[in-house]
């Protein structure tokens, strides 16, 4: 069995990689990349050469290409110490046309061209855009840059290799002097044990210096109580939906109003703020960048997230999804069963009409119908993250559960009727078994097997959220992330969310098979079919 599952997982991984590749082709090659500027006010404010430069730099941000302006190249040479400040200043100024370049500039332009051309880049030189009187137009300065479209395989390779990030003490560049690098284990978490306190609170933690995160392992009062930052998942960086934040973080970070508490910072200063010091991560030179950082922190680990009141996107979707899934199984299975046992009686007819209603009527229509009916009944129709009421969950849960109940009713009834008409039931009946015995010992168990196969799928599927339900009731869940990302051309998020969906769907099929084999001893994936 173990071997079989590993084989299935490997197969699944291959199809996930293929899905990511196809999605990358769809969004990076097939789509017109000019569309990202359609709602961009900055684009219309730039003109002439500056507009072209702006386009290139935006395309780089969105992950389409690699863009290297000439000035960056020269500045980097200066940083490395290959050229002195005077040469830099002379080299960086290019003429209005290539013929007007100064001697130094011409030399470095030639070097730049050769260096990037040999690496497959395309060199573009934009001549100065001058008016008739010789003055430059707005944004008409001469420009020189190299660009290269990122090839699909390279893009996919870097995506998959960067997906798992293991925090290590060499994360901070080697030239930064930050004292002794290394991991330390402490029994007394410094966040809970400010320096001046004498009474120690026992709380083990692993701290790092030179790592991205300061706290690699720690305990706190929030579920699941033990937290780690050693291994982080990067599904792709967002650009427009949640700027600069990874998709996985976008899905899992809590939302809503800040929760203020008395926070004692490493310098000993105490303030009423929402910062979660356990999440401190490294930002080079940030300690002295702002006055408040210098006042609160003692090192460059200043980037902290905040405690917020609400759940994460994934959290809201999952809570709503899992309650409605449980409801659908608890209600759908018995009703389907009762319909099968009273076939063609009143209950069966009412149930069939209900199933037909759900299948045939557009889901949008009945969700609006429930919303209108619920509003009349006095239930809150809009989701409010900052309210602590539980009533606002009722309508989204019901809207999700009703179609799921109809679906389960339909299949449970079908499977039960098929089983009751089968030969072994007739045989059992002629052998003298009572209807109750036939039902509890044979029919019921057999009818449930295909239902069991779907359980992992519905539990995992609860995480993906529901597009229409979340939109109609304004639930801040994960269901709308994909449509939001598509509307705002956030390529990183599209790829990340697709990967997340694909992993869930592959896992749920494998888990469904495993669960089915566990429930039904006749099903075996290891022995060959007879």
């Amino acid at each position: 069995m173990g071997k079989y599952i590993i084989k299935r997982l490997l197969h699944g991984m291959v199809s996930i990689i293929c899905v990511v590749l196809i999605v990358m082709v769809l969004i990076y090659t097939l789509l017109d990349r000019g569309k990202i500027f359609s709602g961009d006010p900055n684009f219309n404010h730039t003109a002439s050469n500056n507009r072209i430069i702006y386009q290139q730099s935006r395309w780089e941000d969105f992950g389409y290409l690699d863009y290297v302006p000439y000035a960056d190249y020269i500045n980097e040479l200066a940083l490395k110490g290959e050229i002195d400040e005077d040469t830099r200043a002379a080299a960086v100024l290019i003429g209005h046309t290539p013929e007007k370049d100064s001697e130094t500039a011409a030399k470095y332009v030639a070097e730049f061209t050769e260096y990037y051309q040999s690496r497959g880049y395309k060199i573009e030189r934009l001549d100065a855009d001058a008016k008739r009187n010789g003055q430059l137009r707005d944004g008409g300065q001469p420009q020189l840059y190299a660009t290269r479209d990122i090839p699909l395989l390279q893009r996919a390779f870097t995506y998959f290799t960067k997906m798992f990030f293991v925090d290590n003490i060499h994360y901070v560049p080697d030239y930064v002097d930050m004292g002794k690098r290394g991991l330390t284990f402490t029994l007394y978490d410094p966040v809970k044990n400010p320096a001046e306190e004498t009474k120690k609170v026992f709380s083990p933690a692993i701290l790092g210096n030179g790592t991205l995160h300061k706290y690699l392992l720690y305990f706190d009062g929030k579920f699941p109580f033990i937290h780690q930052n050693l291994l982080t998942l990067n599904l792709g960086q967002s650009y427009t939906v949640n700027r600069g934040v990874d998709v996985f973080t976008t899905m899992t970070e809590s939302q809503g109003a800040y929760v203020l508490s008395s926070v004692t910072y490493p310098t000993g200063v105490t303030a009423d703020r929402a910062d979660d010091l356990h999440t401190a991560s490294y930002v080079q030179g940030s300690l002295n960048a702002t006055a408040s950082n210098a006042q609160w922190f003692t090192d460059d680990y200043t980037n902290v997230t905040t405690h917020k009141k609400g759940l994460s996107r994934l959290g809201y979707s999952f809570v709503i999804g899992i309650i409605s899934t449980i409801m659908s199984y608890v209600l759908g299975l018995p009703i389907g069963l009762a319909m099968a046992l009273r076939k063609d009686k009143l209950l069966d007819k009412i149930g069939t009409i209900y199933i037909m209603f759900i299948i045939a009527v557009p889901s949008l229509a009945y969700i609006f119908l429930f919303k209108a009916l619920g509003g009349k009944a006095g239930l809150p129709t809009l989701f409010d993250m900052d309210s602590s009421g539980k009533l606002m969950y009722v309508l989204p849960v019901v809207s999700l559960a009703l179609p799921a109940i109809a679906n389960l009713m339909k299949w449970m009834r079908r499977y039960m009727i098929d089983q009751m008409n089968s030969d072994y039931v007739k045989f059992a009946r002629s052998g003298g078994l009572s209807e109750g015995e036939i039902f509890t010992k044979h029919v019921w168990k057999n009818a449930l097997i295909p239902i069991v196969h779907g359980i992992p799928g519905s539990v995992l599927g609860a995480m993906t959220g529901a597009i229409i339900t979340e939109r109609v009731y304004v639930v801040p869940g994960a269901g709308n992330l994909l449509t939001q990302a598509i509307n705002r051309y956030d390529n990183g998020v599209i790829v990340g969310v697709t990967l997340f969906y694909a992993v869930l769907s592959v896992l749920s099929i494998i888990l469904g098979d495993v669960l089915m084999a566990a429930v039904d001893p006749r099903i075996s994936f290891t022995t060959k079919d007879r």
């Binding site: 197969h11 199809s15 996930i16 293929c18 899905v19 196809i22 999605v23 769809l26 969004i27 097939l30 789509l31 017109d32 569309k35 037909m356 209603f357 299948i359 045939a360 009527v361 557009p362 889901s363 949008l364 229509a365 609006f368 209108a372 597009i467 229409i468 939109r471 994909l482 449509t483 598509i486 509307n487 599209i494 969310v497 697709t498 969906y501 694909a502 769907s505 592959v506």
Partner: protein
């Protein structure tokens, strides 16, 4: 006791009661009532009285969707400049424009007749569903049968299905919508480009179930060709499955189009989905509710009617119900 009136038969007593000899040749013949498959399908279908009603309703809907718009000249922007004609309740519209069938549902956001708008939208939505259904079913059934029959094709197609099935359909449709202008035919393309795959997978499973049944094995042993097995042994069994599938597919395209329009990925034509999307704010505005609920109601009625007709036709096309 039944008494038979002999005069009704129109035969003389002699003809009726003459002695018939045993004929060895005649007794070899098997005499059965003439059986025509499609005639039996319709006989079973019309046996249920509700079907006649639903079919009549479907005919009425199609007549309104396809004939009515060509009779009236519907211009959604005809009253655009008239500020008094916007968002009128049925009563107000009738009072303003005069008593006419056109204004029975009031007027919409640009002073257009809601009644005309929904029938125009229905025409587009029904056409979309029929075109997509025809393409997907044809390709899906053909590919699905080959997929189910050939084990070599099965291995390849199952992997293809696992991969393509995981691509979010919304993503694919929005890419299509952005690549081409969001017209009717773009929508058809977006819904059919991978839509057939799911139908093919369903048909494949059905074919696999029947393919290895004993009677097919026996047929194969007797030397029947694969084509004949497919046509004579499997296709009759599949007819009801295909019709039932069609019954769920066609309404599902209408629902899906409504859904896509709602999330902003619909086509530019004023389909039912787009009407619902545009009138969403009208749902909660007192006096404007008709603008929202009438396209919702029509979409629901169309899908339910299509579904009921299809389901009952699916039941009737199962030869086991023809007894």
């Amino acid at each position: 006791m039944n008494t038979i009136n002999l005069e009704k038969t129109g035969l003389s007593e002699q003809e009726l009661f003459s002695h018939v000899d045993h004929s060895a040749l005649e007794s070899e013949k098997i005499v059965a009532p003439r059986y025509s498959y499609w005639r039996s399908v319709f006989r079973v279908f019309f046996r249920k009285k509700i079907n006649i009603f639903v079919l009549a309703l479907l005919g009425l809907l199609i007549a309104f969707a396809y004939i009515y718009p060509s009779l009236v000249d519907y211009d959604p922007f005809a009253n655009l400049m008239d500020p008094n004609s916007k968002h009128l309740s049925p009563a107000a519209a009738m009072a303003y424009f005069g008593k006419d069938l056109q204004w029975i549902l009031g007027a919409g956001s640009s002073g257009e007749s809601t009644f005309d708008a929904i029938w125009n939208g229905s025409r587009i939505s029904i056409s979309l569903a029929l075109v997509c259904g025809a393409i997907n079913m044809t390709v899906g059934v053909i590919v699905g049968s080959i997929w189910g029959f050939s084990k070599r094709v099965d291995a390849v197609m199952t992997e293809v299905y696992n991969i393509i099935g995981n691509i979010p359909q919304i993503l694919l449709i929005s890419v299509m919508a952005m690549l081409f202008a969001p017209t009717f035919w773009t929508m058809v393309f977006a819904l059919t480009v991978i839509g057939w795959l799911f139908i093919a997978y369903f048909i494949r499973t059905q074919v696999v179930i029947i393919r290895d049944r004993e009677y097919n094995l026996a047929s194969k042993c007797l030397g029947t060709s694969t084509v004949k097995i497919a046509m004579k042994n499997i296709l009759p069994f599949m007819t009801s499955v295909i019709v039932t599938l069609l019954a769920t597919e066609i309404p599902s395209y209408i629902s899906y189009e409504v859904f896509l329009s709602y999330i902003g990925l619909g086509m530019s034509d004023m389909s039912l989905g787009r009407l619902i999307y545009q009138a969403e704010s009208a749902m909660v505005t007192p006096g404007w509710e008709m603008e929202f609920w009438s396209p919702v109601a029509i979409a629901s009625i169309i899908t339910v009617v299509l579904y009921v007709v299809g389901q009952n036709l699916g039941d009737a096309s199962d030869p086991r119900t023809h007894m």
